[in-house]
């Protein structure tokens, strides 16, 4: 039986944190989740992410079919390929979830986000803010003598870029909707 004895202190690894079988590259995916619009469904989705330790980069939800009582949740999440697969499988397990689409792998898709930015400034800063807004095709939706509220839509990186430019010009406040996304082409996700 001596051959079966193990050396003192020979165990140096934790079974929980060694996962060499799976790639550790982090990927960002956009998921479209079609759900019954019933009380608590968003809590189920969010609870899944917090309970299992997944990331939510952005999340939008609204009813999309009033007669069919269905809502569409668009989630942008980051994780290893194995975690992304788990997220999709776990979402699919939720009873009021009808369908889970990974728009990142199911072909090209369009992603858009809307943001409102309040910029305070006078003189040259104010002129520069307006000029940049024009370049970014942002609309002025509110104005006072020393402030603007701009409305801008686009992919998240465009909004990031616009916000970065506005910051030195007096960016006060920003509100973003999170990403809404659809696959390109004639075919829907359903």
């Amino acid at each position: 039986m001596s051959a079966l004895q193990i050396k003192k202190g020979s165990s140096r690894h934790s079974a929980y944190n060694l996962r060499p079988q799976f790639s550790d590259v982090q990927e960002t995916h956009t998921l479209a989740v079609l759900v019954d619009n019933e009380p608590g469904v968003l809590a189920r989705v969010i609870g899944l992410f917090s309970g299992r330790g997944y990331n939510i980069d952005s999340l939008t939800v609204a009813e999309v079919d009033h007669t069919g009582h269905t809502s569409r949740i668009t989630i942008v999440t980051t994780g290893t390929p194995q975690v992304i697969e788990q997220i999709k499988a776990q979402l699919g397990r939720i009873v009021p979830v009808h369908d889970v689409h990974d728009l990142t792998v199911e072909g090209p898709s369009v992603e858009r986000e809307l943001a409102l930015l309040k910029v305070r400034g006078e003189g040259n800063n104010r002129v520069e803010a307006l000029r940049l807004a024009d370049i970014f095709r942002a609309n002025v939706v509110d104005s006072t003598l020393d402030s603007f509220v701009f409305e801008i839509t686009g992919p998240p990186d465009k909004i990031d870029a616009f916000a970065d430019l506005m910051r030195p010009l007096g960016l006060e406040e920003i509100a973003r909707t999170g990403v809404a996304a659809l696959p390109r082409g004639a075919k829907g996700a359903e």
């Binding site: 193990i6 202190g9 140096r12 934790s14 079974a15 060694l18 788990q86």
Partner: protein, 586 residues
């Protein structure tokens, strides 16, 4: 044809239409209308437990012994929160349970009313699905949907929260046949191409192994039958998780015994060295895999599971097959037979010879206790004296005794072994045994317990005596929290922090105080007679079996170690066997 009735009546009618014959519960203010309806009928029996947690465990025991969903009825607030441990237990072990909770009236919800709790909020992460019914018109449909969800796909607990005004109000009753079909229809048929790929791998494998789990039991008796046919026809060795014991008979010639942290040496070594692992309805739990980066390094892995999220969750799988075990095994057998029933005979012969060598280690051997009863000896005698009874059902609590029961008792049929596997709930066994006895009134139902676990739900003595449920509580009493003590010995420098109980009750007197029979045994020479006395007594028995206090449970894979690094018996080196990182794992 629709019928108007109150919500409370609807609950009873729905249960009847769903084929429910017993409900485990505890009344309270928010469920009084339903209890009033239960009072006025005789088709559904209600078993009054002594704590809501026990109601859920009893329903789990009933469900596991019958394959039908167990039903629980409790009140709002504390009734619901007390049930949470049981519900979580059912979720972890995939047991179909339907929990009905009362709720304060809809117009009081959110007011911090008396006995109000956000029951659907609290139970959202521990149920498969739950509903708050705010309109009596939706009640019957929701109840039928609840049974459908609890029993379809991977089974699990569901909860329906019913406010008191919804129970009083009237609406049309919808019978199950007219209920809206649910969009929740999990896939049961496996992909034929993947099954064919698995058959091809099986035909060529030199060292294949079936690793089966609770999914085989959950899939129904047909699944166990098909597994037996497949194993015996192919001659491939089979091991099982704690949850899957009984799917393949312990007396079967290809049986290797349980695998995992306290599994048999031959089973774990075979898992480590195999070249084809076929996981049937198991989920690569951490008690099974040990260290994942060294888990069965040289094998191709196939995984049959009805839940897609189980696949690739822990271990990356080469041949994933999403489907119900019975359906997949049926197709697998069909394809294997149609391709000429091929196996790699030469390879299998060598494989069995290797397994024979591992078996010679005799990993369950233990040294004789002399005048003291060794817990292993108690299990071996219990097995010898009861194994011929086809109607023997075994429940356990959680700890060393649970592992000894799994190691030394042999299970010949599915649905005869109820133990808390995933959640590891101390106090599970006694109420579960009540549920099993309700399902099989004439059967021999034994709960193998530890004294600490048993005390966690000992109030159920009242239930056992009131409903004349002749359950046998076989307590391996070492006056220690044995598994905690074992880990403290191996990992924490023998500093036994709070792992023993002083002031234990006299279990014989305790049984007698409830009007039951108590037996104490401390001498190996008296053990057989005492066990027979327990079996022959027509009524609940508490058997206080005083055993060796410092016995450790072996074999054991230390945390953070792979399968081929098992600790064996008393002669094995155990000092500092588990490294500091392994100690984190519990």
């Amino acid at each position: 044809m629709s019928r108007q009735m109150t919500g409370a009546k609807m609950v009873v009618q729905s249960l009847r239409d769903q084929g429910v014959d017993v409900v485990f519960g505890y009344p309270g203010g928010a469920v009084l209308p339903i209890y009033d309806e239960i009072f006025q009928q005789n088709e559904i029996r209600h078993i009054l437990v002594r704590h809501e947690q026990a109601a859920v465990h009893a329903a789990e025991g009933y469900a596991r012994a019958t394959g039908k969903p167990g039903v629980v009825l409790v009140t709002s607030g504390p009734g619901a929160t007390n049930a949470v441990t049981g519900i979580t237990d059912a979720l972890m072990d995939s047991i179909p349970v339907v929990v009905l909770t009362g709720q304060v009236p809809t117009f009081m919800i959110g007011n911090d009313a008396f006995q109000e709790a956000d029951t659907v909020g609290i139970t959202r992460p521990c149920t498969k699905h739950n509903w708050l019914v705010k309109d009596t018109a939706n009640l019957s449909g929701t109840l039928h949907e609840a049974f459908h969800v609890a029993t379809s796909g991977r089974p699990g607990p569901v909860l329906v929260d019913i406010p008191k005004d919804v129970q009083f109000a009237s609406a049309d009753y919808t019978p199950p046949a007219q209920a809206k079909t649910s969009h929740y229809q999990p896939r049961v048929k496996g992909d034929t191409a993947a099954i064919t790929e698995l058959v091809a791998a099986l035909e060529e494998a030199e060292r294949p192994i079936f690793y089966t789990g609770g999914g085989v039991i959950n899939s129904g008796t047909a699944a166990s039958q098909l597994l037996r046919e497949l194993v015996d026809a192919t001659g491939v060795p089979v091991t099982s998780t704690l949850m899957g014991l009984g799917a393949y008979p312990a007396s079967g010639r290809n049986w290797l015994g349980m695998l995992g942290m306290h599994g048999l040496y031959e089973a774990n070594m075979a898992m480590h060295d195999c070249d084809l692992m076929i996981n049937i309805g198991a989920r690569f739990d951490d008690r099974i895999t040990g260290r994942v980066d060294a888990f069965s390094p040289g094998s191709k892995k196939a995984h049959i599971d009805v839940d897609p999220s189980s696949i690739n969750k822990v271990i990356s799988t080469d041949i994933p097959i999403v489907g119900d075990v019975a359906h997949v095994l049926e197709d697998l057998l069909k394809i294997w037979k149609s391709r000429g029933r091929k196996t790699n005979r030469a390879g299998l012969e060598k494989w069995w010879a290797q397994i024979g060598d591992w078996r010679k280690i005799d990993c369950l051997a233990y040294t004789d206790g002399g005048r003291t009863i060794k817990p292993q000896h108690a299990m071996a005698r219990l097995e010898a004296l009861t194994k011929d009874r086809a109607d023997r059902y075994i429940c356990t609590d959680v700890g060393q005794h649970q592992m000894w029961a799994a190691q030394y008792l042999g299970f010949e049929a599915p649905h005869q072994w109820m133990t808390s596997g995933g959640l590891g709930t101390m106090g599970y066994g006694f109420p579960a045994s009540l549920g099993v006895q309700m399902a099989h009134p004439d059967a021999l139902v034994i709960n193998v317990a530890g004294e600490a676990s048993w005390l966690m739900n000992m109030q159920e003595m009242g239930t056992a005596v009131q409903f004349m449920l002749p359950v046998k509580q076989f307590i391996l009493n070492n006056e220690r929290l044995g598994m905690v003590r074992q880990w403290q010995e191996l990992l924490h420098g023998e500093r036994y922090s709070h792992s023993w109980s002083e002031a234990l009750p006299d279990f014989v007197k305790l049984a007698e105080a409830f009007g039951a029979k108590g037996i104490q045994c401390s001498d190996p020479a008296d053990l057989d007679d005492a066990i027979m006395e327990m079996i022959r007594h027509d009524g609940p028995v508490v058997f206080d079996c005083l055993v060796e206090k410092h016995e450790n449970c072996f074999p054991m894979i230390p945390s953070g170690e792979p399968h081929n690094k098992m600790l064996l018996g008393e002669n094995a080196e155990t000092g500092d066997a588990i490294g500091t990182k392994g100690a984190v794992l519990v």
